[in-house]
């Protein structure tokens, strides 16, 4: 485990990427790291491709990850996992929710969703960790916790104790959703191992 790292969150507007990146950031801070996170709001959020960049370490200067320097990508959609390939390097880990959200050109029948899209990653020596976040979230009883499932899977790759994540989730989500989110986190963590 490294004492610093760059985590890229990617997905489609409305998938709960911001909450996932917030939980991760708070957990890293609680574990004693400095951190910075970049997001883009506005136009980018209307169902388009979105990212959040989180960097941690002893001291973080730039809020942006350099191309080729993302150590982990948490992708909430399969094609989005591949869209940010230039941000990754050989040896990066990509935790990917095996969900397909059709972009307009695919939904309107003009083009097809690319087949075996994750091969673009594995063929470049990038480790792919598939997680069926929806299925796991459904299994714990709340489909809307898919983003926390993804955090659980990510936690397996970070130098932060599970207890720290659990505490952060305890304070970040409304009381009545706490237990189900903790279960979602645990389910994700199992999938990440």
């Amino acid at each position: 485990m490294e004492a610093n790292g760059n985590i890229l969150f990617s997905g489609v507007g409305g998938q709960g990427i911001l909450l996932a990146s917030e939980i991760t950031a708070y957990s890293l801070l609680a574990a004693g790291f400095d951190a910075k996170k970049s997001e883009v709001h506005g136009m980018a959020q209307r169902g388009g491709s979105v990212t959040a960049q989180l960097r941690y370490g002893k001291k973080v200067w730039s809020p942006l990850i350099e191309p080729g320097c993302a150590d982990i990508q948490v992708a909430f959609e399969m094609m989005e996992a591949v869209r940010y390939l230039p941000m990754l390097h050989a040896g990066s880990t990509v935790i990917v929710n095996t969900q397909r959200i059709l972009p307009p050109a695919v939904a309107t029948g003009q083009t097809a969703y690319p087949e075996n899209v994750l091969d673009h990653l594995s063929s470049r020596n990038i480790r792919v960790v598939p997680v069926d976040a929806f299925d796991l979230a459904r299994a714990v009883g709340e489909v809307r916790t898919a983003n926390v499932v993804m955090v659980g899977a990510l936690s397996a790759f970070l130098p932060v104790d599970t207890a720290v994540f659990a505490e952060v989730i305890g304070t970040r989500v409304p009381e009545r959703f706490r237990d189900v989110n903790l279960k979602a986190f645990e389910a994700g963590r199992q999938a990440g191992w």
Binding site: A44, S62, P67, G68, P104, T108
Partner: protein
């Protein structure tokens, strides 16, 4: 704004600026939403003891802040970079009047145009309006600099500007809370016409004060801790401000750096001292060669835009590659994938209007808001978009240029917030100068693009308190529009009839499309009801697909599949609605002639 650990906070630049405003004792804050500035007021309005509001536009917002400052209060105006263009008129003369209570204008610039129509560099405004400008690198510094800006504003009797960019506004970092600044100026009415009444004879005197003040500010820039030399390897020396400083520190951690926290006026002596210290001087800045030009004017040689791109954002890699190409790191080439552009939400009321426009042979003079997405396929029905409010006069100008009968070939389209911001004067002009074009006002009850802020037509304030809701129909009639229609955009065929009638008229007309944005809390709270496809009735005509609703998708048939599934041999596929995504607007159902789309009662 919650604790990260101990007494530190984890905040975005905008949240930190709101905290800074509170710590600085700001009493009155006004502004207009605009990415990346919006969250400043959205956060500040939750602090006790601060009055916050959304103004109809940035000029009004700044004028409100100027008024509060004249009455002795510390005042804040916030806006995005292009908002300063709108507020430039009061800004340039407030520089002459100076302040009562401290007055700060925050300009949030958007290099790379993540969510903007241009990427102007507002440091130029500080130069042009003869005002001091501070430029933080991260959230913590944004808070500290805002407080310092208030002290400076009162001490030097000047409005001050704080310039942030997207990578400060929307970056989260660790922030420590600080002390509250005690007030220095008493609240009250002070009649000082020599300072506040800017007619020529008095303004001429103030003009001299401006020059003298700029001289004193230069002195401050020499000694301010915000302008500091961080010594290091002197082979390459860097001058940087704002977020560029962070990229320099990361790309060249050993190098000597002069960080300019005050980016206007510049500390000439300090710059000379630094230039003399280092072998080669590099100015690293995003967008315009602002520092570079002024440093070169001092007769100091340096590298700048000969190496560093003037277009778009910088980052560590761009800075490193530009200055030290040998240090370049390789990265993977992108893979060709279907793009995923933003799209209007499922159930968005704007979609039905653009669907109709896509079927009318008209030039659509557009404006800025969620509805600008009507430009994208499959609707593809916006033909121009320049700046807020421009849709109406551009349509009028085109009609005048095209001559007789052209009024039915050009329509303008504008959102409710944008209409109130700067569309009304354009409409007055259309009526006054005997045009006959049609204006469509998309009244979705809110300023949606920037994240659902209330506006003067919404019936509530920034705090969610009830307020007068501007009567758009009444206003249009009052300015002289005799043909004002109101339509429900979700009924697509009915709306088309009205649009056709309005466009044919030889007098000005306004069509108000009224239906709420689906992201409004009251819309989200509705019980889930959706539409669904009776696929056995679907004939594959694609009428609903052409709406471009994200809830509707097309499944193409394979060879022979149509017959196998009991459809006509020639049918190419069927349409399907994702009932979880559907937002119950009914537009697709109003278009389907085959009873293949029906509402599913809960």
């Amino acid at each position: 704004m919650t604790n990260a650990k101990d007494d530190t906070l984890w905040m975005s630049g905008n949240e930190a600026i709101a905290l800074g405003a509170w710590e600085a004792g700001v009493k009155v804050a006004s502004g207009y939403p605009g990415t990346p500035s919006t969250e400043i007021l959205e956060n500040l309005c939750r602090y006790d003891g601060v009055y916050s509001e959304w103004a109809p536009n940035e000029k009004v917002g700044l004028e409100v802040a100027i008024g509060a400052s004249f009455a002795g209060a510390r005042a804040l105006a916030t806006m995005k970079h292009v908002g300063v263009n709108v507020a430039a008129d009061p800004l340039f003369t407030a520089s002459y009047t100076g302040v009562g209570g401290g007055l700060v204008l925050v300009t949030a610039d958007d290099p790379e145009m993540h969510s903007s129509q241009n990427e102007q560099d507002n440091r130029n405004y500080a130069f042009a309006a003869k005002l001091p400008m501070l430029e933080p690198s991260d959230p913590m510094e944004a808070k500290e600099m805002l407080k310092a800006a208030y002290e400076l504003s009162e001490e030097y009797d000047t409005p001050a500007m704080l310039r942030i960019t997207t990578r400060v506004a929307h970056v989260k970092g660790v922030v420590s809370p600080g002390e509250k600044l005690p007030p220095k100026v008493e609240i009250g009415i002070a009649k000082v016409p020599a300072k506040l009444v800017m007619l020529p004879s008095l303004a001429k005197k103030r003009r001299e004060v401006l020059e003298e003040r700029m001289g004193r500010l230069r002195g401050l820039a020499e000694v301010s801790p915000f302008n500091r030399i961080e010594d290091g390897d002197r082979k390459r020396g860097f001058i940087a401000s704002g977020v560029s400083y962070l990229y320099v520190r990361e790309a060249f951690p050993e190098a000597a750096v002069l960080k300019l926290g005050i980016c206007w006026p510049l500390p000439e002596k300090k710059i000379r001292e630094f230039a003399a210290m280092v072998d080669e001087l590099y100015v690293v800045e995003e967008l315009d060669p602002f520092l570079e030009t002024h440093i070169k004017a001092m007769g100091i040689g340096c590298h700048g835009k000969d190496l560093i791109p003037a277009i778009g954002e910088l980052n560590t890699a761009i800075v490193r590659n530009a200055i030290d190409p040998a240090g370049r790191r390789e990265s993977f080439a992108p893979v060709d994938l279907p793009p995923r552009p933003p799209n209007m939400c499922a159930g968005c009321p704007h979609r039905g209007i653009f669907f109709n426009l896509s079927r009318m042979k008209v030039f659509v003079s557009g404006d800025i808001g969620c509805y600008t997405l009507g430009f994208l396929p499959p609707l593809s029905s916006m033909d121009a978009c320049v700046c807020m409010g421009a849709s109406v006069p551009i349509a009028h100008g085109m009609a005048k240029a095209l001559g007789e009968g052209a009024h039915s070939k050009v329509v303008s389209i504008i959102g409710d917030s944008t209409f109130v911001h700067s569309g009304i004067t354009g409409l007055i002009n259309t009526v006054y100068n005997n045009s006959a074009s049609t204006l469509i006002i998309l009244d979705n009850r809110i300023t949606a693009m920037t994240g659902q802020q209330p506006n003067p037509a919404s019936g509530q304030t920034i705090m969610g308190e009830p307020a007068h809701a501007l009567d758009l129909e009444g206003l249009c009639r009052a300015v002289g529009v005799r043909h004002v229609y109101t339509v429900n955009p979700h009924d697509v065929p009915e709306t088309r009839k009205v649009l056709k009638e309005a466009v044919e008229l030889s007098e000005p007309s306004v069509v108000i499309s009224r239906a709420p944005c689906v992201l409004l809390p009251e819309m989200k709270a509705r019980k889930p009801v959706s539409y669904f496809t009776n696929q056995e009735n679907c004939v594959g005509c694609m009428a609903c697909i052409r709406l471009g609703c994200p809830a509707i998708s097309w499944t193409a048939f394979e060879e022979g599949e149509a017959e196998l599934r009991g459809y006509k041999k020639s049918q190419k596929g069927v349409s399907k609605i994702d009932e979880i995504v559907c937002n119950d607007c009914g537009q697709c159902a109003s278009l389907c002639k085959f009873n293949a789309i029906t509402r599913k009662e809960a």
